[in-house]
Structures are given as structure tokens and as C-alpha cells.
Symmetry: C2
Subunit: 300 residues, 2 copies
């Protein structure tokens, strides 16, 4: 397929690699040429053969010219998205699908009234999409079902793992799940139960070891002899009791954040953050590769 990448930050660069790796022709565009060049260099670094399928577009009209699917990863500010979608609306062919990488804005906030609105939706990845397969698709009320279906199939052929929300909802699914976990993480630290490092250990050395290959439902389904129904019958009341204790939404206070920040910076000094991010990316790539190997041997 002919793919257009519009917006080349970290997310757009990673998307460029995802599409080129899967054999698509990728046109790359950013308002600033160096950003587009950096995206191309990122693809080339992964494999020059992938970069051979990419071209740098000269302007928005050029990148959209002939494009069958557009992955938009412009800056996460609503006025920018709104202006960009109005500008694209005048240039799009009547069959092109436009998916936004936005994590925060439902498509209804920047596609209302556009003549191509039925072919616009959100396709929100977890950064970086070339390593993390999950993509959540969120249609606006006016997104055509066919738009969702085509995008979902495209994501599958890319090797991504698409989920489809039935409607727009604040935070979509991924950030809502993360919000729930973070809320309790901050609560435990604020209440002096344990340190941030200990919360992290509870996940990284505990819960996360199952969650990286089974979700929360699959996990509890196998934790009772007869499955999730039995699990809920046994433990539902306990979890309801905890849920009531956890139903006090709290702002993350400056003092609390500052205390956490100082502990994190003691562990990873400011100057070491870039190195630590490289460590994270390398670890993530290795874990994803290991999971793929294990899935090949044991099945999914």
C-alpha cells in the first residue's frame, strides 16, 4: 500500500519503520525537513532495504498524493491537529483513510464537519510501535465501519495487535488501565506503605511477569480450578472491598511528586536519563524478541 507519514517525532519515525518493514511504500513528511530526514535515517539504521521503500515528501500535498492510508503523528496540541486536518481535508482523495496517533484527543475533536470525516479515526500506539504491537482504534461517531475494518486488517498485516473501542472515551483503554494502576501506586507511596522502588518491584518482579503474556482476565481465569467465574465468586467480595478503599481520586500533590522525583533522581541522576532510555529500548527489544521466540515454541 501507499502510506503517508505526517509528523515525524519519535512516534512518526517508529511508524515509518513499521510500514516500511512490512513492505509498504512510505512517503514521509514533517513541517521541519530535519525531522523527516531523521525519521528516514531511523528506518535506514534498522535496515537500508526498508529505507529504500521510503521517500521524503516536499509538502503536505506531496505526501498525501496517492496515499491510501495516512498515519498522522503531529504534535499533541488540539489547535495543531485541527488546523492540520482542515488542511489535509482539501487534499485527500475520496478513499484515503487518515489515522491519528493521538493519545489524548478523540477524533471527534478535530474531524467534525470535514468532508472526509468518515474516513478518519484514532489509531493510538504504545510508544514505540515498532517494538510494542498494541494499537487501539477509536472511531469518532461519524467514522464509517469500513474505515475501522480496513485499518484493523492493515494493523494485523503489519504484525501489530489492534483492539477496537466501540466508542470514544477519555484516556481510551490503555491510559485508563495505566491510570488505575498509577492511581494506586501513588496512593501507596503517599500513605507511606512502601517506596516507589518497592511498588516498581511489585510489578516488575511480580505482577508484570504474567501480564507481559497474559492480560488481567486470562490471569485470573487460570487462578481458579474452574475459571474466572469461580475466581470471582471466591474473591469478588475481597476485590469490592479494596475497590471501595481505592475510590478516593487524588491529585498528585507537588510534595508527593517532588518526593518521588528526588528518589528517582537518586537512582538515575539527570545526566543518566538518556542512557537509561537507551537501556529501556534495548531491554524492551530483547523482551519482545524473547516473547516472540517463546510464542513460536509454546503457542500464544
Amino acid at each position: 500500500m501507499k502510506i503517508a507519514i505526517v509528523g515525524c517525532g519519535v512516534v512518526g519515525s517508529s511508524w515509518s519503520l513499521v510500514f516500511a518493514r512490512a513492505g509498504h511504500d512510505v512517503a514521509i513528511y514533517d513541517r521541519t525537513l530535519p525531522a523527516a530526514e531523521a525519521a528516514l535515517a531511523f528506518v535506514s539504521q534498522a535496515d537500508p532495504a526498508f529505507a529504500a521503500r521510503c521517500r521524503l515528501a516536499t509538502d503536505l500535498a506531496d505526501v498525501l498524493n496517492g496515499a491510501e492510508y495516512v498515519q498522522e503523528s503531529a504534535p499533541e496540541r488540539l489547535p495543531i491537529k485541527q488546523a492540520l486536518y482542515r488542511e489535509m481535508d482539501a487534499l485527500l482523495s475520496p478513499t484515503t483513510i487518515v489515522a491519528s496517533s493521538t493519545s489524548g484527543f478523540p477524533a471527534s475533536q478535530f474531524t467534525e464537519g470535514l468532508k472526509n470525516a468518515a474516513r478518519c479515526l484514532v489509531a493510538h500506539p504504545i510508544n514505540p510501535p515498532h517494538l510494542i504491537p498494541l494499537v487501539e482504534l477509536i472511531p469518532a461517531p461519524w467514522t464509517a465501519p469500513e474505515t475501522v475494518n480496513v485499518t484493523r486488517e492493515l494493523m494485523r498485516t503489519l504484525g501489530q495487535s489492534p483492539i477496537t473501542l466501540t466508542r470514544e472515551i477519555n484516556g481510551f483503554v490503555v491510559n485508563r488501565l495505566q491510570s488505575a494502576l498509577l492511581g494506586e501506586a501513588f496512593r501507596l507511596v503517599e500513605d507511606g506503605i512502601c517506596t516507589p522502588a518497592e511498588v516498581d518491584a511489585a510489578v516488575a518482579d511480580g505482577l508484570g511477569l504474567r501480564w507481559c503474556f497474559m492480560g488481567p482476565f486470562a490471569t485470573i481465569d487460570l487462578n481458579a480450578a474452574n475459571g474466572v467465574g469461580e475466581y470471582c465468586a471466591n474473591l469478588g467480595p475481597m476485590y469490592y472491598g479494596l475497590a471501595k478503599e481505592q475510590a478516593d481520586p487524588r491529585e498528585w500533590s507537588p510534595n508527593l511528586v517532588s518526593s518521588i522525583e528526588s528518589k528517582m533522581r537518586a537512582a538515575v541522576p539527570p545526566a543518566d536519563l538518556p542512557t537509561r532510555r537507551k537501556w529501556r529500548d534495548a531491554f524492551l527489544a530483547a523482551i519482545v524478541a524473547a516473547k516472540r521466540d517463546i510464542t513460536g515454541k509454546l503457542g500464544a
Copy 2:
């Protein structure tokens, strides 16, 4: 050290392996001899050399005789724990530490008034402890600091990853974190946003891939250029908005559970559950081994 295993279900069997694997002498006891024999067979299956360090005890007095540390994994019913701790109290040496594997009962509920109460605490693993390192230590109000310190050091020498709660709290840390995630998972399904399988994908193909080697704080700390303080300044208001939406504790209704159960059983029929559990254990063992290898190469 001389270790006593009291109670030999799945958890006690796995603990037997943890201690024997680390070179300790392990006495194994269960009210029913076949359960103790099964635990020994489980250790032997891992490595006969480990089993050579284990012995089957004939009764409670025998298993506690000379024990420096007791890991209790009796059935998860409070009257059973209370009776067992009273019985042990008459038999313990004045230096033995007794740690309970309980996931649900703080030690204050079954050690109050015991003469050895200062050396009792909870050491709650995530099942199975021979694969999952996390152990949460929860002292009762009367647990001696030295008891906590010795247990934490022991856990470290075993290769486990101990965290220490400052006080007793419902659900401890692990189940509180799981509760938060499950609450939102059930909410998303109940509200018709997506299916249980899609929630599972959001975690297993998304969030969980980072959480298996970085906890929630380490994750957000690296998701802003200058660390967690900047992340919270940028996204705190968004998360507070989500937290307010998530502050409606819900019972898991029979209809909801039944709908989830039927979807899970369509994916894994009842007869396939035992096989699926073997798959989980094999996958978990392989992921943990892969993570160990990656940590060896890239650091923790």
C-alpha cells in the same frame, strides 16, 4: 539454614524448591502425608540434588525441631491459621522466625497474644515463588524489626525480590495493584467499550511489555525528557480526570461475570484449563529465564 515448610499445597511445594535450590536444609510437613510427599516429588523433579536436602517430617513438633525459619502455607482460612499458630507457639524455639504465605490475612489476625508473636510476620509470594521473585513482607504491629530484617535478607539470598510494607493494609501491595487494574478492566467490559480479550491484549501486547522489567514509576520517569516530575506536571491533570471517572467502585455482577466466563470458556474450553495452566507455567518459566539473560547482558 534449617527451614521448615508447614503446609504443602502448590505454594508450599514451590517454597520447598526455593529453599532447597538455595542450599538450605528443608523439613517438609503437611497434615496429610501425600501432600508432603507431593511437595518432595516436586522438588525432586526440578533436581534430585535439591531433594537430597529435604526430609519429610512426621508431625508439627518434628518439622519445627531445630528450624530457624518456618514458611507456613496452610489453607487460606482464618480459623485454621489461628489454631495452627497456637499449636506452633507451644513448640517454637525462642529464636525461630515464622512467616506466613497468606495473601489475605494480616499476621495480627492470627498471632495476637502468642509468646512468639514478635517473630511472626507475613511473607506473601506471588504464585509460584520458584518462578516469580516478588515477596511482600508485612509485619504485625508487634513484629520485631529484627524479624523483618532477617527475613528480608534471607529472601534476598534466595534470589527473591522482597518489598517491605510499613504496616498492615487490606490486600497488601500486590493485590491492591491488581485490584486497581481489574476494577478498570471489568468497568471497560461492563460499559461495552471493548471485550475481555481486547483488555487482555492491551496489557499483554502493550503495557505489560514494559511492566515486566520496569514498574509504573520507572515507566513514567523515562516518558518525559526530565523525568517523573515533568511527566506529572504535563499529565497529572489528565490522570486526575480519569481517576475521578474511575472512582465508582463496582461489584462484579453475576451477569457481567457470566458474560466474561462464557467468552473465556469459548476461548479455552473447561477441559482445556489444565493444559492451559501448563502452558502458562512453561511460558512464565521461559520469560523469567529470558529476563534473567537480558538482565545479565544489559543490567537491571
